[in-house]
Subunit: 733 residues, 2 copies
């Protein structure tokens, strides 16, 4: 964002006096008198038309300048609102707030008044339009907007535009200033606060955008009461507003309850408003608030990704990742605050930067060779405001791009955007997804697909348990598919750490189904043959009564081998079930009853993955293709293998290993099959024992005590040895 120079509060900042400056002036650093951390201290830069500096940032700004000039020359329409998300008028207004913002940033950087005039003229058009608008003709009833179909977009409009306006404010005529502030900026801030209390006072990312928009407007228009409402809620009791959102929406580890996709989106107003607060009221020490939660949250957002894309948990658009605009702001601001050179590594992946002083600093420092690798690491992210509501656990191994990452989702529901996948599991390796999450069923911004909104299949398929890699019992989703019920509970983390060199994560939840306790143990076990570690997954359903247990593996790639025969449906496909997502699965094949250790292999372009599995009870494998009961053709065609057992208690053990390599260009194929010789189950006293033997005669044993209390001491005689440990889970090898 622009280096805001909120003159009233931060008295030390001098007015810009840009009106006296002709083209060619250096204006980018005219806030260096500020003592705040956001001030840029880099040397002054030459104007765009000069040749003194040819930095990557300057080239990027020149390109942006060309774009803005071209837009201005083509004419910038400010049309009467007609359509919902993704429609041409909607998109025009989105482009316009970017134009206001970018023209402002260009004016700040170059001092060239043509950019100032572009931003001003567009704002004046809005000052004409906005007072004429009632609610948007296609408004979303719960969160209506005036300029846009939903208030959220309107808040985003204001967050961008107020930054562009701030830069030009002192350099336009008093008449224009009054018209813009009374015509659009003030009224829009009013509408987003008093006019939309249900959103403004909501502890939710829409509320954060509204608070940021109104608060930033308060600073720029010198209206501190707007800032107070933004920080503390409409009635200023602190039960709502930005600070409360910071208290509630992030866990102490910087995890955002809705998951990484929404975390990315929510980060932007948190960051921009925090930056404005820091600039104007440094005495609030906003970046130290809650032990530095904002910076922690940026780092967490980055960590919740693999190969540049976010783990697609809950209602996630799968294409989103580290190079989204929100994280371009986030990383630039984080670098400005911390100077941690690992952030520069992320910027290199992003490819370009935001058009701000922070963006310039980042690019300059990359050019100066300061970047260091960003350390993606194993980490537990506790969920809940107090960190007591479960956790998301990520285990990692290896160096990019030859790394593996496993996710165990033991979090809360994630509110209305949450999915019913308690103890969900994801596995990424070799730069690719292997066991994946469908993400949301939505074509974002594509109007022809239900207005770009969440599709009906998001509820009927994408949220359901069977759409995920976790145990579905009796063909019903966790908590019966009631998110408000689910929101009340979260799994208990049983273990996170390293035991005998094995990275391990474990959790349980006994509220997802009546009378069934779900337990999952996920581990990365190093191999001594130079291969990527084994990923071992133990999934348990524990009950006194019989149930049908389904464990899906939503795999990527081609299933190229199975140890057992599969009877594929050749002439007729029918749905696997009738509800909770089962109605969307074509049953494409199944096996006879299987017992003991089995394996299948997947081909994923440059390597194979072999999956070895077993259960302590007879089971069969069902193969599915997604797409049944999809009258609008909304679903992608994806494949899954579902292990199904009928029993009171079931234990599934699955081992994933990267297997060989495939080089299409050089026509080399190495494919070995499983290196797991046996998987055995045993119950020794009050401990479940899982014993795996590899082909080089290594033994790996997992011990899971019936007593899952946190610090209980356990002792067991195993193979004539006395094993002692504390806590529910232990590993031997």
């Amino acid at each position: 964002m622009s280096v805001l120079t909120y003159k009233k509060i931060n008295k030390s900042v001098v007015a810009l006096g840009m009106a006296a400056c002709v083209q060619g002036c250096v204006s980018f650093d005219n806030n260096t008198k500020s003592t705040t951390p956001l001030a840029v201290t880099a040397a002054a830069v030459a104007p765009v038309s000069g040749t003194v500096e040819q930095s990557a940032f300057k080239l990027q700004m020149q390109k942006l300048g060309d774009t803005i000039i071209a837009r201005a020359e083509a004419g910038i329409p400010v049309p009467v609102p007609v359509d919902a998300g993704g429609g041409p008028v909607h998109e025009q207004h989105k482009e316009n707030y970017k134009t206001i913002y970018e023209a402002g940033m260009l004016y700040d950087y170059t001092g060239d008044t043509k950019y100032r005039d572009i931003a001003r003229d567009v704002l004046l058009d809005y000052a004409d339009l906005y007072p004429t608008l009632g609610l948007h003709p296609e408004h979303k009833p719960s969160t209506a907007g005036r300029l846009f179909w939903q208030g959220l977009n309107e808040a985003v409009w204001l967050v961008y535009s107020i930054q562009g306006y701030e830069v030009i404010r002192d350099d336009i005529s008093p008449e224009d200033r009054e018209k813009i502030e009374r015509g659009v900026l003030g009224p829009m801030a009013d509408f987003l606060s008093e006019g939309s209390p249900q959103t403004f006072d909501r502890i939710h990312n829409h509320g954060t955008w509204a608070a940021a928009a109104v608060g930033m407007t308060g600073y720029v228009l010198d209206q501190p009461e707007r800032v107070e409402k933004s920080l503390y809620g409409l009635n200023q009791d602190g039960e709502a507003g930005f600070l409360k959102q910071m208290d509630i929406l992030f866990s102490p580890d910087g995890y955002y309850a809705e998951g990484p996709y929404y975390q990315r989106y929510a980060m932007m107003p948190f960051l921009l408003f925090s930056q404005a607060i820091q600039k104007n009221e440094p005495e609030r020490e906003i970046f130290n608030y809650r032990d530095g939660i904002i910076l922690k949250a940026i780092s967490t957002t980055l960590q919740l990704s693999y190969a540049g894309k976010f783990f697609p948990l809950n209602d996630a658009i799968r294409s989103k990742g580290l190079n989204t605009i929100e994280l371009k702001y986030g990383v630039a601001i984080a670098y400005d605050l911390t100077k941690d050179p690992a952030f520069l590594d992320i910027v290199k992946y992003q490819g370009d930067v935001v058009p701000t002083p922070e963006g310039k600093k980042v690019l300059d420092d990359i050019e100066a060779g300061l970047a260091k690798p960003f350390n993606f690491k194993s980490q537990m992210f506790r969920d809940g405001s107090n960190g007591e509501d479960g956790a998301l656990i990520v285990l990692r191994s290896g160096e990019k791009t030859n790394d593996s990452a496993v996710v165990l989702k033991a979090t809360t529901q994630g509110l209305g955007h949450g999915h019913f996948d308690k103890l969900g599991f994801l596995y990424n390796d070799n730069g690719q997804e292997v066991v994946a999450d469908y993400g949301a069923s939505r074509f974002l911004n594509i109007v022809s697909k239900f207005g770009g909104r969440y599709l009906p299949e998001n509820d009927s398929w994408a949220k359901q348990t069977i759409a995920h890699n976790t145990l579905a019992v009796d063909e019903v989703s966790h908590y019966g598919g009631d998110w408000r019920l689910s929101q009340k509970y979260s799994p208990d983390v049983l273990k996170y750490g390293v035991v005998n060199g094995v990275q391990i994560a474990a959790a349980e939840v006994d509220t997802a189904y009546d009378g069934v306790n779900l337990q999952r143990v996920v581990a990365m076990v190093p191999r001594d043959d130079g291969q990527q570690p084994y990923v071992i997954d133990i999934m348990r359903g524990i009950s006194d009564t019989d149930h049908q247990y389904d464990l899906p593996m939503h795999y990527k790639g081609d299933l190229i081998k199975s140890q057992f025969p599969i009877e594929y449906e050749t002439s007729n496909l029918a749905p696997l079930g009738t509800d909770f997502g089962y109605q969307h699965l074509w049953k494409s094949g199944e096996t006879e009853q299987l017992e003991g250790r089995q394996e299948v292999s997947l081909f994923l372009g440059t390597a194979f993955q072999t999956v070895t599995f077993a259960s302590d009870t007879p089971y069969k494998a069902i193969f599915t293709k997604l797409g049944a009961n999809d009258p609008d053709h909304n679903l992608r065609s994806e494949e899954a293998m579902i292990l199904r057992a009928n029993s009171d208690t079931v234990n599934f053990v699955t081992v994933y290993e990267r297997d060989g390599s495939y080089d299409a260009d050089n026509e080399t194929a190495v494919f070995n099959g499983s290196s797991i010789v046996s998987i055995d189950f045993d119950q020794v006293e009050d401990v479940a024992v899982y014993k795996l033997v590899t082909q080089n005669d290594k033994t790996i044993q997992f011990l899971v005590a019936d007593d899952t209390s946190k610090d209980a001491a356990h002792q067991l005689e195993l193979d004539d040895q006395i094993i002692e440990w504390s806590g529910p889970v232990h590993v031997l090898r």
Copy 2:
């Protein structure tokens, strides 16, 4: 390849005398005394351990050296053959020929005797093994090998190994030399020639590999009779052998009858043996043979690609493209011969080079900044030895990576690897496939999938007409699916060129079905609104009797909009038909009867494609998913829309246009829908008239005369104007 110094014939080349050279000698350029074009004249380079040169090539060779040393230290097994393609022993022998070759190249480059000794020792092991071998236990009956399951792999082994051996030959003991030549090289050459006459004398890429292997061995072992057999066939009458293969297998435009995938593969022995001939018998002027057919063929191979991948015609593995090893050799050799800097552009895409003097030259010249963009252009590639058997026509527009390419396949069948898609159509745009070819049904080198061989579904699906984007009549494939029958016929090209600024290609074939003439006109029409050109496709089936006409569009991406309702199957899927590939299509939806202009839109990640179509007869659209009657789960799940009409004669007009853009990171979506207002059909006298009107009131008219004779003069009164042209097809706008 190594700079072969075949001493007997090319007397000017001096023996290397490497035996007297200790580590650190400069050996890479010791053939500069040769006057042949293949000699390298670059300055001598320092040994690997030195620091004088740090070129990209040197770094690559250092890395290769590390790999070879590591292999040698781990031990290089030379096992008794047991398995077919893709098996571990098969792959070991493949790795070994690369080791022999690469160790030789490293010895040549560095003079370091440890590489010489590695190559020698592996060859000695083969000299022990080979005499003990009968036919391979899993041998392919028609083309058996001894070391490999098929003779083809054995020929490849020899092509690589003889190059590695040539470099070390003068620097090993006479005893070792005799053992290697009598134990493996000579006997293998015998086996591949006299021992395998059905392959050696075959006009086919297997024959080319065998000829190259035997001929190159002849040069190195100083056995000119092997060279003569390789050039002229076993009985040396010129009816078989390398020269005959050059006569027959390429068209005068350098098109290889089986298509680009096999062209790539076949190019390698053509290139390597030609290089050896040039080196040893420059008086043959092999690179001028048939008007320079070899270089023309390299250029053609490169042109037959889009976004780095080959057009997947006929039995093609879709992942293959410009960075395959064969083209790394091809481009390095072509650059060495021509110094055309556009080849360097291709090498930059390939990323690395072959470990030869030509590879070094290429990398050095790239580092010197000599690369120029390779010009992918519209081109007609005539098929058939005389260029009289149809053609493959590629129309292109725009600059990489914002370009479009359309393919009209009016070639011969392409022998046993050909597909039944006369007048087949492909459309690529914006770096992606839009309308695509399934390619081959095969998991190359993946043993668990039918030994890595062509799958049964290659015949039952991938080759069939309905698997392609061309007209299928009465649910039967072209020529009843009989490739030997099809091989007798080829389409007639009606037009290739530019008319009134429109790129146009047209062809017809009346032998694919009894009593039905198929005609297709494909055009790229420039737009004046800065958008990519319209791709317009007119597909005609002309008959006196009623038929069912099916025109499939095998599209990529998501179908996100249709102008008409589609009734999707929700609870039951059944196959669309019973034979000729129809049995593999699940019918997933269909429409009521449609008339007039219709449109659908596709979403392809960063842009949309809108497809506008119409027919002069009522039709319906059928939607399919691939995968029925696939008991071994061999088929990919892909979607198609099939336009179906029942009539005596049918005309389908389809217009493809790139539509808007989609930026997931910045959440911008532009999607406009079709800009084609109307598509009208008329028959004016003896000319079919197709009239398209765009939303900015431009008219495009295609005229196709009933008389398709090549030079017939036509005159027509149209809109009160007299239009005159010659030949069957004309365009007005």
